[in-house]
């Protein structure tokens, strides 16, 4: 597997793995149970550059490549999927669009605190009536003098409960259909910017997913990202990168489940021998190993293409689809190998099983990804 990695990528993997073993893994069960966001660890992650993995070093980031990015997300997610989600979304769909579409002034203003983890970013697209169909967005950003006045209800916002810098997808031209959607940056603390209650989710519970409501929230015109009407283009570009992160998250969850299952299968004895010696367990372990490897290879391929500046949309869709499906099937097998204990919160596979499920839903459902892939194959 690692034959595709450079020495730099390997040092990144070893360093992040060591950090996660020491800082994240020991608290993962607790922060899942308590639905708590571990600020102390997050601040350390910020100082180590985990919140600006690919941002340029002159803007406070680490300046690494996409391969390093997916490695970091995989390793964090292996420890805690909720934190992996936090870092993935922050880097890909919150920070990256500012780097890709922001003006020089916007980058100077927004990127350094985000890249250093001093501020957390969020991507606010989903609404009660707009998800897979982003053109259904109802939030509005109406120009009034030198401000936009934002109104809308954003739901299932990853990092919502802690986010400082939010990319709001809203209609600047309500009559222009999907061409009337724009991205405006709104900051927590602005009057009319209201963070809703945290969602009580099945998995990724360490992530403060919440709604964000905007009531006549006034933000300066210079907070517009790109141009008016570019919203969907910015969203799709961001999601190409975002789904790479979620694919890596799926690989991380699957890897964690795979390791726990193999460890358990060697320890647990039934019929006088470790259950790993029973063929039925061996079959599952073989399938898990193969699926995790295949998913990681798809993720790495998409990351390499991105690093080479080549189109990677189809490949990142395939990686996201396969890695998220792998994540759910591998965690399911891990629970099965653990038997009754796998269904107990005393063992971590129960958490992996819950965490994996959402990877097939967010940042584009598996069904949407199949549509994207089919369209690209058939065009």
């Amino acid at each position: 597997m690692d034959i595709f990695l450079s020495e730099k990528n390997r040092v990144v993997r070893q360093s992040v793995r060591r950090f996660c073993e020491k800082e994240i893994k020991p608290i993962a069960a607790e922060i899942d149970r308590e639905c708590s966001f571990p600020w102390e660890v997050v601040e350390k992650m910020g100082r180590l550059g985990y919140f600006g993995i690919q941002a340029p070093r002159e803007l406070g980031g680490a300046g690494l490549d996409s391969v390093s990015y997916v490695i970091v997300i995989e390793e964090i997610s292996k420890g805690c999927a909720g934190l992996g989600l936090c870092v993935s979304v922050h880097n890909s769909v919150a920070l990256y669009p500012i780097l890709a579409f922001g003006t020089r002034e916007q980058k100077q203003k927004w990127v350094p605190p985000l890249a250093r983890g001093q501020k957390i970013g969020a991507f606010c697209l989903t609404e009660p009536n707009a998800g897979s169909d982003a053109s259904g967005i109802e939030a509005t950003a109406i120009r009034k003098g030198d401000h936009y006045v934002l109104n809308g209800n954003k739901v299932f916002v990853t990092n919502g409960g802690v986010a400082d810098t939010c990319l709001i997808f809203a209609r600047t031209d309500p009559g222009a259909g999907s061409k009337g959607i724009s991205v405006v940056i709104a900051e927590r603390g602005t009057p009319g910017f209201v963070v809703g209650d945290l969602e009580d989710l099945c998995g990724v519970r360490a992530n403060p997913v919440s709604s964000i409501r905007l009531y006549d929230c006034r933000v300066p015109l210079e907070n517009l990202l790109g141009k008016e009407g570019m919203g969907l283009r910015i969203g799709l570009t961001a999601l190409d990168t975002g789904r790479l992160g979620i694919a890596a998250q799926g690989v991380g969850i699957a890897q964690a489940a795979f390791e726990e299952a193999t460890k358990y299968a060697k320890q647990r004895k039934q019929f006088g021998v470790p259950i790993s010696r029973h063929q039925a367990m061996g079959m599952m372990i073989a399938d898990m190993a193969t699926q995790v490897d295949a998913a990681r290879l798809l993720v790495l391929r998409a990351a390499v293409l991105r690093d080479q500046g080549k189109p990677f949309s189809r490949q990142s869709a395939m990686a996201k689809l396969y890695a998220s499906e792998t994540s759910t099937s591998v965690t399911d097998m891990a629970v099965q190998i653990h038997g009754g204990y796998g269904y107990s919160k005393a063992y971590p596979v129960e958490r992996y099983y819950r965490d994996a499920r959402v990877t097939r839903i967010y940042e584009g459902t598996s069904e949407i990804h199949r549509m994207v892939i089919a369209r690209s194959v058939l065009e």
């Binding site: 990144v12 360093s15 060591r18 680490a62 390093s68």
Partner: protein, 258 residues
Amino acid sequence: MSLKIIVCVKAVVVGAPGGRVIRSSNSCELNPFDRPPLEAALRMKEEKGASLTVLSMGPPSCAFVLHEAIAMGAARGILVSDPALAGSDTLATSAALGAALQKLAPFDLVLFGTRSADGDTGHVGPQTAVLLDLPLVGSVDLIEKKGAGLVVERTLDGFRESFEVRLPAALTIHPGFSEPRDVPLAGIQGAFEREQVETWSLSDLGLSAEQVGEKGSPTRVTAISKADRRRKCEFLSGSEEEQAEQVAQRLTEWGLLE
């Protein structure tokens, strides 16, 4: 004047599937016992403006440990690497590191971990110091600058010992010196962006193939096999008090409890 510090580090083997040792960045990592000396040197660099070079011996695939040290804040990395070094025991390793240190002279301080996580001999630091005729204090957990030298301290056999050391000197740093730092991602990018690791061969060091490798090694590991460590598990029965009583009785019988 700021100190010139050299930290010797090793890439240790963490996995040998099927008993075969292949040293590469997949099977090796920076010796965890070398992190405390690195941390000690990095603190002296940050607090007192010391200059820091890291030195290692191994195949080219192990240069990553030097990159990792550079990512943490070291300025320069030297990898002593030559096919003739294969099979070196701890004395031959000390000879090669000693020759590299002489090439790096003058320096003020050479730091080592107390041992390596794979070989686990604890020889290399002390042997290298002897070969270079440097004063050595082992298992140090406190370093203070005093005049032209250092005051260093350690705890040994329940006693706290304090030494004044003239420079240049060699120290091995106790694993409990302090929590080693994590590696910042920007540091990793920086360490690979600009090549700061040099590779020195035997000829660069003025050594011959006879002085190192298997030929230059007075000792040789002839065989390694897994130790037969049988564990016996015994279940105690009765009430909690009775079980506790039985545990205490066993521990007393074994001489672990008086």
